[in-house]
């Protein structure tokens, strides 16, 4: 792939984010790019402040009790993510959990009877099929938060603190499986990280990831926008720009993955008020870390106005407010020998029309 094609793919990804991004930020404007004058490897769109994100994670995890209470979303997504491993009948000697948070994936892997099929009421935990799990995260406090819990004894898990989550420092072709649960949405250079994941996988090995995307927290986004517009006459970003389902398929393909599966799952959580939602987001370590955000806390007037608008615009009849988390699950395989490949175009012998009409 030429440099030109790669950088234009990044631009198309970023321009789709620009719909959600603040109008005033100029770094998203996809100016026509002249392919012959691009410095290689220089195009890196900075959307999130990595240091702010690291601080937020450290702070959130330093209050272990509160942080565990707010882990409901990450635990649930980790369970749904690991369930996808049931479809792959394999042993994985060496697996990587990229952006492990507090090792929620490791905890989900050690669950008894993971198979939801009622015909198999007892099944061995998925961890029996994993030789070694390496869990990496940038936040040490969060990574080691549950290091003394029971699940650590049921799985060979090694925790590893990394300085920069966007540079994966492992040998090429060293893993049989890469998992990632709810951390890719804070990556600035998503195309680059996906390409690196593809690189560290052994041939014919899967990457299974889950990230927040699309309409995640659209209720909070719209309420705060309206509140800031009415109270202060303008707005600054409070909810991250997120990749959409369409983007993820293209990104995986451009990173070199084969046999892609991308699906979406909405988890809607009800909260008593907007303040409770924001407190929980903070305890999850998922506070706002956009580079161009307004510094300092949100003003009290905006918060109060936002809560009232949230209720009026999205509120449930019982007085609670819903918050949507849209999870994008992605599975991609590194290219390998003897891997099933799509047939050549035009080689089909059966008409789909005949099959569908007889049904």
């Amino acid at each position: 792939m030429s440099t030109c094609a790669r950088s234009s793919s990044i631009v198309s990804w970023a321009s789709s984010l620009a719909r959600l991004a603040p109008r005033k930020s100029s770094q998203f404007t996809a100016a026509p790019r002249r392919c012959y004058a691009v410095a290689s490897g220089a195009t890196r769109f900075q959307v999130f402040n990595r240091r702010t994100k690291w601080l937020q994670k450290e702070r959130a995890a330093s209050n272990a009790e509160e942080s565990r209470q707010a882990d409901y979303l990450k635990d649930e997504v980790a369970v749904r993510l690991t369930e996808r491993l049931l479809d792959i009948n394999r042993h994985f000697p060496k697996a990587l959990d990229l952006g492990a948070n507090s090792c929620n994936v490791a905890k989900a892997l050690t669950r008894d009877n993971p198979d939801p099929d009622p015909n198999t009421p007892t099944s061995p935990p998925l961890s029996s099929r994993i030789g070694e799990l390496i869990a990496t995260d940038s936040s040490e406090t969060r990574l080691y938060r549950d290091a003394d819990h029971d699940f650590n004894g049921k799985l060979n898990v090694t925790r590893q603190v990394v300085d920069d989550e966007e540079t994966i420092a492992f040998e090429p072709e060293s893993f049989d499986l890469v998992l990632s649960s709810l951390s890719l949405h804070w990556i600035n250079d998503l195309p680059g990280v996906l390409a690196q994941i593809n690189n560290i996988l052994k041939p014919d090995s899967p990457f299974i990831g889950a990230m927040l995307g699309g309409d995640t927290l659209f209720e909070l986004r719209t309420s705060l926008q309206l509140a800031e517009l009415e109270r202060r006459g303008g707005m600054s970003p409070h909810v991250s720009p997120l990749a959409d389902v369409r983007d993820v398929g293209g990104l995986l393909q451009k990173a070199g993955f084969k046999m892609l599966t991308v699906d979406v799952d909405d988890i809607i959580v009800d909260y008593p008020d907007m303040f409770a939602l924001m407190q929980d987001l903070q305890a999850m370590g998922e506070s706002n870390a956009i580079l161009n955000r307004e510094m300092g806390p949100i003003r009290r007037d905006v918060l109060v106005a936002g809560d009232a608008i949230y209720r009026a615009l999205h509120g449930n009849p019982d007085g609670s407010i819903p918050a949507t988390f849209r999870i994008i699950y992605m599975i991609g395989w590194r290219e390998g020998e003897n891997q099933p490949k799509p047939l050549a175009r035009g080689s089909g012998q059966t008409s789909l029309k005949d099959i569908l009409e007889t049904k």
């Binding site: 006459g233 008020d273 303040f275 106005a305 009232a308 615009l313």
Partner: protein, 81 residues
């Protein structure tokens, strides 16, 4: 880790706002009536009522001087004799 004993400001705010559902609903209705055309201070009147209410329900002087919050969420003004 010792349990937190102090109440965070946002929890105080949350409690205070919860007592002002009448004003909050009025403000919310004003915005949602035409949310494609929101301008600065479009619903300033409704917001000031809401703000008055939560400042009083927080019991922060001097806003609660001469005013108390009644059971039904409305403000009662006391004029000094």
């Amino acid at each position: 880790m010792t349990p937190q004993t102090s109440t965070r400001p946002i929890q105080k705010l949350s409690k205070a706002v919860a007592k002002c559902s009448v004003e909050a609903t009025a403000y919310g209705k004003c915005i949602v009536a035409d949310y494609n055309d929101v301008t600065k201070d479009k619903c300033a009147r409704e917001f000031m009522r809401l703000k008055d209410c939560y400042l009083v329900s927080r019991h922060v002087p001097p806003y609660n001087l001469g005013r108390t919050l009644t059971e039904d969420g409305s403000l009662k003004h006391h004029r000094p004799q």
